[in-house]
Subunit: 148 residues, 4 copies
């Protein structure tokens, strides 16, 4: 899971620019907290709008940042002139998703020409303590000719 | 997948009340479009805030209504005095999620005392035509003593 | 899920020949019970060798025929000169897998040039009654230049 | 993922005895290669009977040992007088599964009273080199009153 070599010298600017064009991430209040080849962390501060009926972050908002973290981890290794789409994912919700913020850590497990497989783990941060909130596996497609 | 018998006479009011207490569903603009024992459809009209960088509904917003539709389909069969939590799910994104709105159709596949398994399919509606956008499988936990 | 058009006139012979070359399916005693474009059913008679510690079919043998049924459902729609590989799958085990035999019904949900998505449902047959044992979603890759 | 405390003093003997009662694992030639609280490795030597049409280990045999490794990792933490059943799993096949043997490494991610979540990674060993063949997430149910 380490030592990935980006195929696009401009990978970092490309990831940041694409993320900035995702209205949904802005709507959720998610921001990039860490960026390296094959690695993206996203932070999402707590907001009532993101919760479910018991006051925890909704599985949907939790999985949304897990998915974007995985997708941008994949995109960071894609060649220039290609785009990323999520083909499928699976997520296990391990603990109630609470805290001042969630952080999703997307990591490339296996880069590929067409399919890149990532894992993404979500943690809740509360009073300086991390709780493992969710873990998932994601398949990302590399689409030639799709500006990202 | 048919003929489920609710265990709580008040199931419909309970599902509607719980859904109304999910701030995230309100934030996404999702509404209940169909409700029957073991069956919930949710509609989510298109809004720019729900999209990703290519203008389609984000995988995260798409999966969020798939998850809530599955969760409330499960809750519709739970006994009184219990709540629902998503344990895990898997979703395949089949086609670009576009249209004037998405509809997620959650259906109980196998009810259980502790775990209820649902499928949920999401369709994009565009000019009167439906496109199959996503299909997923969901495990929902029944939690005694958790008011929902 | 209906009306798929095979792209290889010789699809049926190709599926049967490839299945006959899967030593693992022979080892499990699985046979093709139904074959149509985008549809494959596999039967696997009960044998003690296929069970787990409580006497039911093992999750592994159950999932193995679900996977092969999905894979051959996909292959039935592939163009000539291509092969099939499973990229990923997810399976929910719904009921104890018992009976005189299991039948796995693989069905194409969404055919694609690179990725084909299938569902596969497994049923246990006992004294003329069917029990829904498992349901799963499968991503199959189409590999050009891989004789199948 | 470390430092789990077994709840049954006799956990090791119980895991070994249950594994020995799985006819399917014996049929596949799988053996326990490592055992610790929350950790089980299974080895499966290559045999033609375990392969698919291209000569690689079949996704089904690969996933079968991934599942058993996860299941016994979970069981190692269960209290006495309970049994384990797989509720669901998802697996991504990362590379062709070849080698003299496969090893599946099941690890508990989150133990629970009812549901235990594990990951399981499968590696192919060929001429002293390991290839990451598969990665999966598994939900295991703890069943009271089911001798295992």
């Amino acid at each position: 899971m380490a030592g990935f070599e980006p195929r696009d010298a401009d990978w970092e600017a490309r990831v940041r620019a694409s993320f900035a064009r995702q209205p949904f991430m802005e709507y959720l209040g998610a921001v990039i907290a860490h960026l390296a080849p094959g690695e993206v962390d996203l932070d999402m501060p707590h907001a009532r709008a993101l919760t479910q009926q018991h006051g925890y972050f909704h599985a949907g908002s939790t999985a949304s940042i897990a998915d974007s973290a995985a997708g941008y981890a994949a995109l960071s290794l894609y060649p220039a002139g290609t785009g990323v789409l999520t083909s499928e994912y699976k997520i296990n919700l391990l603990n109630p998703a609470r805290g001042e913020k969630l952080v999703a850590r997307g990591r490339v497990v296996k880069p590929g020409r067409t399919l890149t497989i990532c894992r993404s783990d979500v943690y809740g941060l509360e009073a300086g303590r991390e709780t493992h909130v969710a873990t998932g596996l994601f398949s990302l497609v590399c689409l030639p000719g799709l500006a990202d």
